[in-house]
C-alpha cells in the first residue's frame, strides 16, 4: 500500500514538476506536421487517385437505406472510373465526365458507419477528413446526422453532398455553403401531397400525427400540418415518438379514442414499418369515424419501407423523390446497371446518392480542381437533366435541388416483390417551389464557402 504522504511533496518538488511538465508540453509543438501547405484541405495534388468518403448508416433504424446507399456509391465509383456500362454517365446532361475518374484521377473511396447517430457520424466523418484525406463526404439517411455532418464539413473545408435527408432544416435554417442536397424536402412533400389528399379524401378530415422526435420529424409535421390545414383539414393532435422505438402500440392506442379519422405517420425506415404494421394490426384501417373510412398517410415513402411493411401499404398515399419504375432514359440506365450489379432495383436513397456522387464529380471536372470553393461555384445554379427527375436546378441561394416530386400510392396488385408503389401524380416543380426566405426555412445563413485553410 501507499507509503508516501502529502508531506513528501515539498513546494520545491511541485515547482520542479511544473517546470518539467511545461517543457514536455512545449516539445511536441516542434513535431507538429505541416499539414496545411496546400491551398485547400486534402488537396490530392499530384497523386493519381482522389478519395471520397461514404458515410452511411450500417446499423440502427435506417440501416436498410444505408446498405442500399453504399451499393449505389460503389456503382457510381465504378462508372466514374470507366468500368461497367456507365449508367447515368450516358444520359446526364450536361456532362463533363470522361469515364477516367475525376480530373484524370482514379476515384477511390472509404466507408464509415454513422450508426444513425450524430456523434458517431461526426467521428466517422472526421476520420475520413483527417486520416483518409477525402475531398468530399456524402451519405446519411437521417436529417439529424446530415445537419451535424454538414456543419462539420463546413468547418473542416470539404464538400458535403447530402444523401437521404428530407428535413427542411438541411437546406433551411442549418444550410451551409459547403453542403448540397439533391433530395427533396418535407415542404415539397406537403405541397405535392396536399392536392392529392384533397382529391381522394375530401376537405373535411381530422388528422392525428405521430412524428419522429428529431429535426426531420418536426419539419415534416409542420409542413404536412400546414399543407393539410390549407385544404381545410383539422389537426387533432401531434405526438412525438422516439426514433427507433420499435413498439408504437402505446402511441397508437390513443388514436382510437381521439376522434381523428386520418393518421399521418411522420416516420421513416424501420420505424415506419413498425408503426404502420402496428396501426393496421390495431384495426385502424377497418374503422369508420363519422361515416368516413379511416385513412393512413405516410408523407415520405420509399420502396425499401414498402417492402418491409408488406401488404400493409396497399392504398396508402405518400411522396417520394424517385422510383425505379420511371421510364425516362436516366432512370432506366441507372436501374439497368444497378440491377445487373446487384440483382434488384435501387431505392430512392440509392438514386439520390448515386446522382450526388456524379454531380460532385461533374462539378469538379467542370471547375478543373477539387478546391471546395470552386466546386461550390460550379454547383451553384447548375441546371442538369437526364438524372431521373427531369430538368433539375441546384438553387444557388440555399443549395437545394428543385425538380418534380412524385406522389405515390401502395399498389393493390403488385406484380413482383419490388413493384410495390404506383405513381399517382408527378407534381411539377413550380408547385413545390418556395422562396428562400420562406418561414419554414428561415433563420439560417449559407455563410461563405470554406477551403479549410
Amino acid at each position: 500500500m501507499s507509503k508516501k504522504t502529502t508531506s513528501d511533496w515539498s513546494r520545491r518538488d511541485v515547482l520542479k514538476a511544473s517546470a518539467a511538465t511545461t517543457a514536455i508540453a512545449g516539445a511536441p509543438m516542434f513535431f507538429t506536421k505541416n499539414a496545411f501547405a496546400a491551398d485547400y484541405v486534402n488537396d490530392p495534388g499530384d497523386a493519381s487517385t482522389v478519395t471520397l468518403g461514404f458515410n452511411v448508416p450500417q446499423s440502427g433504424a435506417y440501416a436498410d437505406e444505408g446498405a442500399d446507399e453504399l451499393r449505389a456509391y460503389k456503382l457510381a465509383v465504378k462508372h466514374l472510373n470507366g468500368e461497367g456500362d456507365g449508367g447515368m454517365l450516358n444520359t446526364m446532361q450536361p456532362n463533363a465526365l470522361k469515364g477516367n475518374g475525376i480530373l484524370g484521377k482514379k476515384v477511390e473511396y472509404v466507408t464509415g458507419d454513422t450508426q444513425t447517430k450524430s456523434d458517431a457520424a461526426r467521428a466517422s466523418a472526421k476520420r475520413m477528413i483527417e486520416k483518409d484525406g477525402v475531398t468530399m463526404i456524402t451519405g446519411g439517411s437521417s436529417s439529424g446526422v446530415a445537419v451535424a455532418v454538414q456543419s462539420l464539413c463546413q468547418d473542416a473545408g470539404v464538400i458535403f453532398m447530402a444523401g437521404l435527408t428530407h428535413a427542411n432544416d438541411t437546406t433551411g435554417k442549418d444550410k451551409k455553403a459547403n453542403g448540397f442536397r439533391h433530395f427533396f424536402n418535407a415542404f415539397m412533400s406537403g405541397a405535392a401531397l396536399g392536392p392529392v389528399l384533397e382529391k381522394n379524401y375530401g376537405k373535411e378530415r381530422n388528422a392525428y400525427h405521430l412524428t419522429a422526435d428529431y429535426n426531420w420529424g418536426w419539419t415534416q409535421e409542420a409542413s404536412i400540418v400546414a399543407s393539410t390545414e390549407n385544404i381545410g383539414w383539422n389537426t387533432a393532435e401531434t405526438v412525438l415518438t422516439p426514433v427507433g422505438a420499435g413498439d408504437f402500440s402505446q402511441y397508437i392506442t390513443p388514436v382510437l379514442n381521439s376522434g381523428a379519422d386520418t393518421l399521418v405517420l411522420n416516420h421513416y425506415g424501420k420505424d415506419m414499418v413498425n408503426s404502420l404494421t402496428q396501426a393496421i394490426q390495431f384495426g385502424l384501417r377497418d374503422r369508420q369515424v363519422d361515416g368516413k373510412d379511416f385513412q393512413i398517410v405516410v408523407p415520405l415513402f420509399s420502396r425499401l419501407m414498402a417492402q418491409g411493411a408488406g401488404d400493409n401499404i396497399k392504398g396508402i398515399f405518400g411522396s417520394t423523390n424517385w422510383h425505379w419504375s420511371l421510364t425516362d432514359a436516366g432512370s432506366q440506365a441507372f436501374v439497368k446497371s444497378f440491377g445487373q450489379e446487384y440483382g434488384f432495383p435501387p431505392s430512392q436513397a440509392a438514386h439520390t446518392c448515386y446522382v450526388q456522387t456524379l454531380l460532385y464529380a461533374d462539378a469538379a471536372e467542370r471547375a478543373g480542381t477539387f478546391e471546395p470553393c470552386a466546386v461550390v461555384g460550379a454547383l451553384e445554379g447548375h441546371k442538369f437533366d437526364g438524372m431521373g427527375n427531369g430538368p433539375t436546378e441546384y438553387r444557388a441561394d440555399d443549395h437545394q435541388c428543385f425538380k418534380d416530386v412524385l406522389v405515390v400510392k401502395g399498389k393493390d396488385n403488385p406484380s413482383s416483390q419490388f413493384d410495390l408503389l404506383e405513381i399517382v401524380e408527378v407534381t411539377p416543380r413550380a408547385q413545390v417551389e418556395y422562396p428562400v426566405d420562406h418561414e419554414m426555412f428561415a433563420g439560417g445563413d449559407l455563410g461563405t464557402c470554406n477551403n479549410g485553410v
Binding site: 500500500m1 501507499s2 507509503k3 508516501k4 504522504t5 502529502t6 513528501d8 511533496w9 518538488d13 514538476a17 518539467a20 511538465t21 514536455i24 508540453a25 516539445a27 511536441p28 509543438m29 513535431f31 507538429t32 506536421k33 450500417q58 446499423s59 473511396y109 472509404v110 466507408t111 464509415g112 458507419d113 447517430k117 450524430s118 456523434d119 458517431a120 461526426r122 467521428a123 466517422s124 472526421k126 476520420r127 483527417e130 486520416k131 436529417s143 439529424g144 445537419v147 451535424a148 456543419s151 462539420l152 463546413q154 468547418d155 435554417k173 442549418d174 419522429a212 422526435d213 428529431y214 429535426n215 422516439p242 426514433v243 433563420g443 445563413d445 449559407l446 455563410g447 461563405t448 470554406n450
Partner: protein
C-alpha cells in the same frame, strides 16, 4: 523507501506525459496519428482514469457514468452558446454542474452497495438519457443534438467585441483554435493533469481509505469510521472526471448528442477499465486507447480494403480469407472487441496491466508480487525491466 517511491512516481508521471504528448509520432505506424482519434484517446483515457477512482479503489461498480459524460457535454455546449467560445469557462462549468449531479445521484445510489448500487446508477443514467432524448428537448435538442447556431447570445464574446461573421465561430483557448492538433494538445494536457491527480489520490490516505472500503467495508465501519463520506467523495470526483471528459468532447467538437448518455456508453467505460486493469494507474488509459483504436480503425475496414490487405494470399483463397476476416471488422468490430475482452478476463483477470507485469517478471529475478503497482517492490520491478 518513501523517497524511492516518490521518485518512481515522478518517473511514472513524466513517462506518461512523454508518451501522451509524443502520440503523433509513435502512433503513426498504427495509422492512428490523426487528431480526432488522438483526442478521443485522451478524452476517454481521462474518463476511464476517473472512473477507476471509484471502481478501482472502492470496488463500487457504477453502470451510469455516461450520464456525467453527457451532462458535461451539454453544459459545455451551453457555455459556448450563452457565454463565450473560450473553452476554459466551458470546462469549469462542465466540472461544476457534473459535480452537482454527482452529489445527488451519488447520495441516493450510495445508500446501497453491490449490484443494487450498479442498478441504481444504471437507472439514473437511463433516466438522464431519456430526459435528454425526448423530454428535455428544449434544452438538449433531442435526437438532433445540441449545436451552435449563428444567433446564439455568447454574451462574453459580444461584450469583448468579437464580431459574429457569417460562419459559426470555433472553440478557442484564448485565441488558439481547439480543433485538430491544438485540440489534441489541450486534451492531452488535461489528461496529464487528471493522471497526476489520480496518482496523488492513489498515494494519499484518502486513497488508502477507499481501498480499505473495497477490501472490507464492514470492518471499516466497526472501527467506528463512517465510510459514506469517503464513498461519496470518490463518486463525485470520478463524476467530475467524466464531466471534464464530456466537456472536452464538446471542446473538440461543439455538438452534444443524447446517445453519449446511453447505457452502452456507460458499459464501455467499464470495459475500458477492466480491459486495461482495474485499480491500476495506467490500465484504464490503456484500455480506453485500445477500445477507441478498435472502434475507429477496425470499423473502417470494408471488403475492398481487406482485399488489398490480403493481396499476398493465393487468389483462390483470397475471397474466403476476406469473408472470414470481414466478420471481425467493419460493423463487426464489436465481435473482435468481445473476443478480446473474453480472452483478457479469462487469462489475464488483471487486464492488460497484469500482462505487462507478467512479462516484466520474466525479466526480473525477483518473484512477482500480487499487489498492485503501488507497492515499492513492484515499482522497482517495473523500472528494472
Amino acid at each position: 523507501m518513501n523517497k524511492f517511491s516518490a521518485i518512481s512516481d515522478w518517473v511514472l508521471l513524466f513517462a506518461f506525459a512523454a508518451a501522451v504528448y509524443s502520440m503523433p509520432i509513435w502512433l503513426e505506424p498504427l495509422g492512428a496519428d490523426y487528431p480526432d482519434l488522438m483526442q478521443r484517446f485522451a478524452i476517454f483515457g481521462l474518463f476511464a482514469i476517473g472512473y477507476n477512482i471509484l471502481f478501482g479503489l472502492t470496488g463500487y461498480l457504477s453502470f451510469g457514468h455516461a450520464a456525467f459524460l453527457g451532462i458535461g457535454s451539454y453544459t459545455a455546449v451551453w457555455s459556448f452558446k450563452l457565454l463565450t467560445m473560450n473553452v476554459v469557462p466551458a470546462i469549469m462549468f462542465s466540472m461544476l454542474v457534473t459535480a452537482l449531479f454527482a452529489v445527488v445521484i451519488g447520495f441516493i445510489s450510495l445508500r446501497r452497495s453491490g449490484i443494487y448500487f450498479s442498478i441504481l446508477t444504471l437507472a439514473f443514467a437511463q433516466m438522464s438519457y431519456k430526459l435528454a432524448y425526448s423530454v428535455l428537448t428544449p434544452i438538449t435538442n433531442g435526437e438532433t443534438g445540441l449545436q451552435l447556431t449563428l444567433s446564439d447570445a455568447r454574451v462574453l464574446d459580444a461584450a469583448a467585441g468579437i464580431e459574429v461573421t457569417r460562419s459559426l465561430p470555433v472553440t478557442n483557448f484564448f485565441g488558439i483554435k481547439m480543433s485538430g492538433m491544438p485540440g489534441f494538445y489541450f486534451c492531452a494536457t488535461v489528461l496529464v493533469i487528471g493522471f497526476f491527480i489520480s496518482l496523488r489520490i492513489f498515494r494519499s490516505p484518502f486513497g488508502a481509505m477507499l481501498r480499505g472500503i473495497k477490501s472490507n467495508q464492514t470492518r471499516m465501519a466497526y472501527t467506528g469510521l463512517n465510510t459514506k463520506p469517503y464513498l461519496l467523495w470518490a463518486f463525485i470526483i470520478s463524476g467530475m472526471y467524466a464531466g471534464v471528459a464530456g466537456g472536452l468532447m464538446a471542446v473538440t467538437d461543439p455538438l452534444a448528442g443524447a446517445e453519449r448518455m446511453q447505457w452502452t456508453a456507460s458499459g464501455e467505460v467499464v470495459l475500458m477499465t477492466i480491459l486495461g486493469g482495474v485499480g491500476t494507474l495506467l490500465g484504464p488509459f490503456i484500455g480506453a486507447a485500445v477500445i477507441k483504436y478498435f472502434e475507429n480503425i477496425l470499423s473502417a475496414y470494408n471488403t475492398t480494403s481487406l482485399t488489398q490487405v490480403f493481396d499476398f494470399v493465393p487468389e483462390a483463397l483470397q475471397p474466403i480469407v476476406v469473408d472470414v476476416v470481414s466478420l471481425f471488422v467493419g460493423s463487426g468490430w464489436h465481435l473482435t472487441l468481445g473476443l478480446m475482452f473474453m480472452i483478457t478476463v479469462i487469462f489475464l483477470p488483471g487486464g492488460i496491466m497484469e500482462g505487462v507485469r507478467r512479462i516484466g517478471s520474466i525479466f526480473s529475478r525477483k518473484k512477482p508480487t500480487a499487489a498492485i503497482t503501488s507497492t515499492p517492490s513492484a515499482s522497482e520491478n517495473a523500472s528494472g525491466a
